[in-house]
């Protein structure tokens, strides 16, 4: 309990420290809107009365610089000039961005609202992911412990049957082949979706530009980018590790229920129930032990979930999203806005950490004497 409290305390130290750092940086970025690095270039443009958008003017200026300056100096001036040109052109093109260049009360309010929406989505998805990953992992665990095996092994078995058939002149197992093929294709499709980046699936299903409903968004975050696959795998691994521990052997020799095939304790309904309970079956102990560790392992998954949410939002151009604003400020070099958004992201992750640690501590407290 003490270590959990320490952890949560440390989170708050981090939040306060970086809160102060971010606020200071935001003010600093706000006051130093324009850097000094282009001072020389601007003076040069002023003297020669060159229009930076005019290609001819620029070509003349470049030639002049090459003649008047030593080669090294000329190169550095030219590259500064090029960057300045890019910068000016960019801000000309993204006028809207330029107009609200500084962090004002209205912008802060908008960003905060977006952040709140993001966080609500985030929590919803995190809980859904937690539930789904545990349920699917138990399902996989159950089927592996019933002696069911992978597509590869099933195919091999078929080939082996074929081998036997040749020896004993038996009938070819058409029905089984068909079953394995359908299963194989379905699994391949599922794997392709689970490991595809969200934007590929988004394209295929035409979720794009304002076409992304809440459900589609949640679907993409959870089921693509490998998020569900890795989190199911994580929990499945925990179950497997627990299975090989000593207490399971003790339970076995005690004659506790080990039947994964027919036991009424490990039905589909129980596996997908939000409150998982497997009665006197050994899975109950395995699950509880794994569940306890998964709560802290889930923090890593949560970070990846946020990455997934950002990818879905940015790659599918969901306007008015929290991160869309971040990317816009990044492109427009509105560093104060960017820092403000970064600060909120930092807080969000920290808050998620605190929640995970809280649940972990709460779950562990159950088993403390």
């Amino acid at each position: 309990m003490n270590s959990a409290r320490n952890k949560i305390k440390n989170h708050f130290v981090g939040i306060v420290f970086y809160g102060v750092v971010f606020v200071a940086l935001i003010f600093l970025a706000g006051t130093q809107k324009e850097g000094t690095d282009f001072k020389n270039v601007r003076e040069l443009l002023g003297i020669t009365q060159t229009d930076i958008g005019n290609e001819l003017d620029m070509a003349v200026l470049e030639d002049a610089i090459k003649i008047f300056y030593p080669r090294k100096t000329a190169t550095s001036i030219l590259s500064a000039l090029k960057k300045y040109k890019e910068k000016v052109l960019t801000s000309r093109e993204t006028k809207s961005g330029n107009a609200e260049s500084s962090l004002n009360a209205k912008l802060i309010k908008t960003i905060l609202l977006q952040a709140a929406a993001f966080f609500a989505y985030f929590l919803f998805i995190a809980f859904a992911l937690f539930y789904l990953s545990e349920s699917f992992a138990i399902l996989k665990f159950k089927s592996r412990n019933r002696g069911k095996y992978s597509v590869l092994e099933k195919t091999i078995e078929l080939f082996d049957k074929e081998f036997e058939r040749k020896i004993y002149h038996k009938k070819f197992p058409y029905a089984k082949t068909l079953k394995v093929s359908i299963y194989g294709v379905a699994k391949a499709l599922a794997v392709l979706i689970l490991f595809s980046p969200a934007y590929l699936i988004g394209y295929v299903f035409k979720f794009d530009y304002g076409n992304v409903t809440f459900l589609a968004y949640v679907f993409l975050v959870i089921f693509t980018n490998g998020l569900l696959a890795t989190s199911v795998n994580k929990f499945y691994r925990l179950l497997e590790t627990e299975k090989s521990k000593g207490y399971v052997k003790t339970a076995k020799i005690k004659g506790v229920d080990f039947d994964y095939k027919n036991s009424a304790n490990v039905t589909l309904l129980r596996i997908f129930s939000p409150r998982k309970y497997f009665g006197s079956h050994v899975l109950n102990q395995i699950y509880r032990n794994a569940h306890r560790q998964y709560l802290s392992a889930f923090k890593e998954i949560v970070r990846f979930q946020i990455t997934g949410m950002i990818i879905v939002e940015l790659s599918l151009n969901i306007q008015n999203g929290f991160f869309y604003g971040m990317l816009k400020s990044l492109m427009n070099k509105q560093y104060d806005v960017l820092l403000f958004v970064l600060m909120l992201i930092f807080f969000a992750v920290k808050f998620a950490d605190v929640i995970a640690d809280y649940f972990f501590a709460k779950e562990n407290a159950k088993y403390e004497n």
Binding site: Y203, L330, V349
Partner: protein, 295 residues
């Protein structure tokens, strides 16, 4: 010969048996063969310009992935060693180090990478080498914490239940214990597994970040010096159409032929990416199972 027996025999020394019976090796072989197959297929069906663009994108993506693996392993190693031998003796260094790690792990990786683009857009020269190295550095930074946690976790395990203190109390140098006994002799499979995961994640994140930037708000800000990655290719209009065409297959399964020939650019870029991710996942899983790595 029965395949089943071939897959199950562990004590046979034949290389083929070894590769077939170990999932990690099986998938590594499959990955290499699959990649070769794509290259040959694309060499046949893509036009020369598109093919060389595709090939260079794959090379650039993998190169960045590899660099990111090497750098992040180095960063993680330096952090863990520094924590163990240096920072813990000085309160301020220690606090500074933890705050730094705290920041690093509280900013989502994709955000770190997107932030890493700022200097590329606005402040760096267009030298491909500098840009590639910078991008690899940023990628590695976003994974450094994972490696650091892995290594310090390994050290903690050997401290709590193992030989670390037993060796320390005999006067053996700590740096030797960590580098040789903990890392080299006891953590190689963990680090290899970590490297595989980082490679795949780097490829995925880099592709996604490039995709976001290319398709996103400011197409005028493309990086002129840097070779394109899979993400840049996926963001092109042609690729997008290719991928949209996948839907046709639901109406007409025979459309697959068109997908694999005329729509090849987008499909092959997408598939190369997904194939890399799946292979890495299976290799890592196989390694975890075979070496019984703790979850």
């Amino acid at each position: 010969m029965r395949i089943k027996t071939a897959l199950n025999i562990n004590n046979s020394k034949s290389l083929l048996n070894k590769v077939l019976s170990r999932k990690d090796l099986r998938w590594s072989a499959l990955f290499v063969l699959g990649l070769l197959f794509f290259i040959i297929w694309n060499a046949i069906f893509l036009n020369d310009a598109a093919f060389s663009k595709w090939l260079s994108a794959i090379a650039q993506t993998y190169l960045l992935g590899l660099l990111s693996v090497i750098l992040s392993l180095s960063f993680g190693w330096i952090f863990a060693l520094g924590e163990e031998l240096l920072f813990s003796e000085n309160k301020f260094l220690n606090a500074g180090f933890y705050l730094f790690i705290d920041l690093l792990k509280s900013i989502p990786q994709i955000v770190i990478i997107l932030l890493g683009y700022i200097p590329l857009f606005f402040y760096f020269d267009n030298s491909p080498l500098v840009q590639t190295l910078w991008l690899a550095f940023v990628l590695a930074l976003s994974f450094a914490n994972d490696v650091y946690e892995e290594i310090s976790n390994r050290i903690a395990v050997s401290k709590n239940y193992g030989f670390y203190n037993a060796m320390l109390a005999l006067g053996i140098k700590e740096s030797r214990i960590i580098n040789r006994d903990v890392l080299l002799l006891n953590s190689a499979p963990y680090l290899i597994n970590r490297a595989v995961v980082i490679f795949a994640s780097s490829v995925f994140l880099l592709t996604s970040a490039d995709f976001i930037v290319s398709v996103g708000l400011a197409p005028q800000l493309t990086l002129s010096g840097l070779p394109a990655t899979l993400g840049n290719i996926l963001a092109t209009a042609t690729s997008k159409e290719d991928i949209l065409a996948i839907r046709e297959i639901f109406a007409d399964p025979l459309y697959l032929k068109e997908l694999l020939t005329t729509h090849l650019q987008g499909i092959s870029a997408a598939f190369a990416l997904v194939f890399t991710l799946i292979s890495a996942y299976e290799i890592s899983n196989g390694l975890v199972e075979r070496k019984k790595l703790n979850a």
